[in-house]
């Protein structure tokens, strides 16, 4: 291979020659799949904000001892680069040249390096630990509950109303409308809505009320049919069930809304369940449902849509309550145990916030060293960037 002839460039008179960068180090990016190498260096001494002569840097790579290849042009002031176009099993070395307006000064080459892959991402070890702690807490309490320990769960206002709302529809002889949001099965809110559907459908089957569930995803339709069918079977009346109870409308958000609005004004449901992931349509549905005099129980984990449900519906499950609902409705010990596990997470969050705020406050106002180190530790535990 041919080295860059530094001497030649430097000896050319009349050109502005700048000092090279120094201390170039190439190191393997830790905890990745062996696809990136980090470079760092000390910028040229001619690289200054005022009267600086360096107008930029070029990064060159030599792959398996071949020809140097320019891989990046960087602005003055740069002192690091991350090369993400490397492969495992090859050797790479690098050099960086400093550019003046008329010349280029290369640095010395780095030693050859092969990108390595690691089997565990230690940068995310805090996430892993937190996952184990929370998962462990949830599983622990599920086990505790299974062994027969009674666990307390506070009232959730919207859910207390479910039975009444179904009873009302039965009395009035009008149907119940169940809308599981507009997202697909790949959203946890939809799954939460469907588990609530399971409990609701059980009651409906007992009461012999009509249920109608228009959906905007056919996977949700498939699951919805399974659930309602199973509920009717469990209630001992599989003959009443029909596939028409769950209908796919269209995947298009507002096309779905247009059709559901039509259903609402024509069928005049006595009760509407609006549970799942909702977007702008939340208020359109809730207001139309209200205009036909339906009792509405809504719930979503999308903070932006909660205000509209709170304003326009009779009961609203706020955020986490949607996920707690299925556990609460079933009353099964295992499900209750998982709620208790969630609360452990909340306790951890509160304690961490308390300590974090205290130490940040103290170190901001009075600058105490060891307290600052607590803050740093806490940030390391909870920050994942």
């Amino acid at each position: 291979m041919t080295d860059f002839d530094t001497t030649k460039i430097a000896s050319d008179s009349g050109k502005v020659v700048v000092d090279p960068i120094t201390s170039l180090i190439a190191s393997d990016r830790k905890y990745d799949n062996g696809k990136s190498i980090d470079l760092s260096w000390v910028p040229s001494i001619d690289d200054r904000l005022v009267n600086g002569k360096v107008i930029g840097y070029k990064v060159y790579r030599i792959e398996d001892g071949g020809e140097p290849l320019m891989i990046a042009e960087l602005a003055p002031g740069s002192n690091a680069y991350n090369d993400q176009s490397v492969e495992r099993g090859k050797l790479y070395s690098y050099f960086v040249s400093a550019l003046s307006s008329s010349a280029e000064t290369p640095s010395t080459k780095t030693a050859s390096i092969e990108p390595q892959r690691e089997w565990l991402n230690f940068k995310l070890i805090n996430v892993l630990v937190m996952a184990l702690v929370l998962g462990g807490a949830i599983i622990y309490f599920i086990e505790t509950a299974r062994r027969g320990k009674k666990l307390f769960v506070r009232k959730i206002a919207g859910l207390e109303a479910v039975d009444d709302a179904i009873g009302r529809a039965t009395e009035m002889g009008r149907p119940i409308l169940f809308i599981p949001g507009i997202l697909d099965m790949d959203d946890v809110q939809t799954l939460a809505a469907l588990t609530i559907l399971g409990r609701v459908a059980r009651v409906i089957a007992d009461y012999d009320t009509k249920i109608f569930m228009p959906v905007s995803r056919s996977l949700v339709m498939t699951a919805g049919r399974e659930i309602i069918k199973a509920s009717y079977q469990a209630a001992g009346r599989p003959d009443v069930y029909s596939d028409d109870m769950v209908t796919y409308i269209t995947d298009e958000q507002f096309g779905y809304v247009a059709a559901v609005d039509g259903v609402m004004v024509r069928e005049k449901p006595a009760t509407c369940f609006l549970l799942g992931a909702f977007f702008a349509e939340s208020l359109i549905l809730a207001e139309t449902g209200n205009s036909v005099g339906a009792i509405q129980i809504a719930g979503t984990a999308r903070p932006a849509q909660l205000p509209f449900f709170i304003a326009a519906c009779d009961f609203t499950l706020i955020g986490e309550e949607l996920f707690a609902a299925s556990a609460y409705l079933s009353g099964e010990p295992k499900q209750m145990g998982s709620l208790k596990g969630q609360d452990v997470g909340k306790a951890i969050a509160m304690i961490a916030i308390l300590i974090g705020v205290l130490t940040v406050t103290i170190s901001e106002a009075w600058n105490v060293g060891w307290i600052q180190s607590i803050t740093t530790k806490l940030m390391e535990i909870f920050s994942t960037k």
């Binding site: 600086g52 107008i55 002031g77 205009s291």
Partner: protein
Amino acid sequence: MLDVTFGIPLVVLSDVGQAISLLLIGGGLLWIFIRSLKAKEVDRRVVFLFIFFAVAAPILFPITFQEKATPIVKKLFDKVESLPAGSKVLIAFDFDPAMAPEVQPMANAFTRHCLVKGYKVIFMSLWATGQALLTQTLERVVKGEFPEKQEGVDYINLGYKAGNEGVLNVIVTNFRMMFPTDVNGVPLDSTAVFDGIKSCGDLDLIISVGGGKPGIKEWVLFVGDRVNVPMGAGVAAVVAPQLYPYYPKQLLGLLGGVKGAAEYESELVKHYSRFEHTDTPGLRMMGPQTLAHVVIMAFIVIGNISYFIGRRRERRR
């Protein structure tokens, strides 16, 4: 469009239309208010009709409200107002067509203000799609309203450069490295605007108009915080709250959404009579917005009055 309809000059027709629509909305609200005193609810269709009317009327007969600039806007306006003639101001068009209805009025207002004050203006964009919108402003505002201004002497268009914040990282120390020439290929050295400008540090004011990434935040981090140049910004309403923390230290002032644009435009019209008849899209869009907000607030108040009166009656029984 005709200037005269049914023999009536359009200006008069518009005034009459404004008056009638305001009277209708006002009278209607009064009627509902009186009804609410009797604790009677109005049909929701009446509510619908009101909101339709409150939005449609100001579109047909443009109604503008006097906007009083909030401090955050006023400070930026005053800064632009107080620079000496010949100051060098950079205006960045960091937005795409989707955001344009909201933020381009701001960019136009800044441009008008700087040109009328006789500053030398540098235009550029970090968004590929921003360049077309920049051209629009140059054609309509700069060439259309200020035909006496010369490209290269009074203003210059650097156009778009790829590289996002990387571009900023370079121009903070050296313009010519990133932009050897302007968008038409004229070397910067041969333009009067760039006389004495090497880097962003030589500017007197930087204004970034945008709403995404790269945008105002990047300008603050990569330029504003590094060299001591005053910065102002115009942003889409959605991102405005995230930028308030930069005010007033890192950003002199901030225009948020249509309302910010309207406030700036109204200040401009107040100070310069030559802009009395220029289009003020910000103010124009605020017409329907304001009326609709007023109607909604009126409905909240009226709804509560009828609720309380109704409840009191029930208690008496």
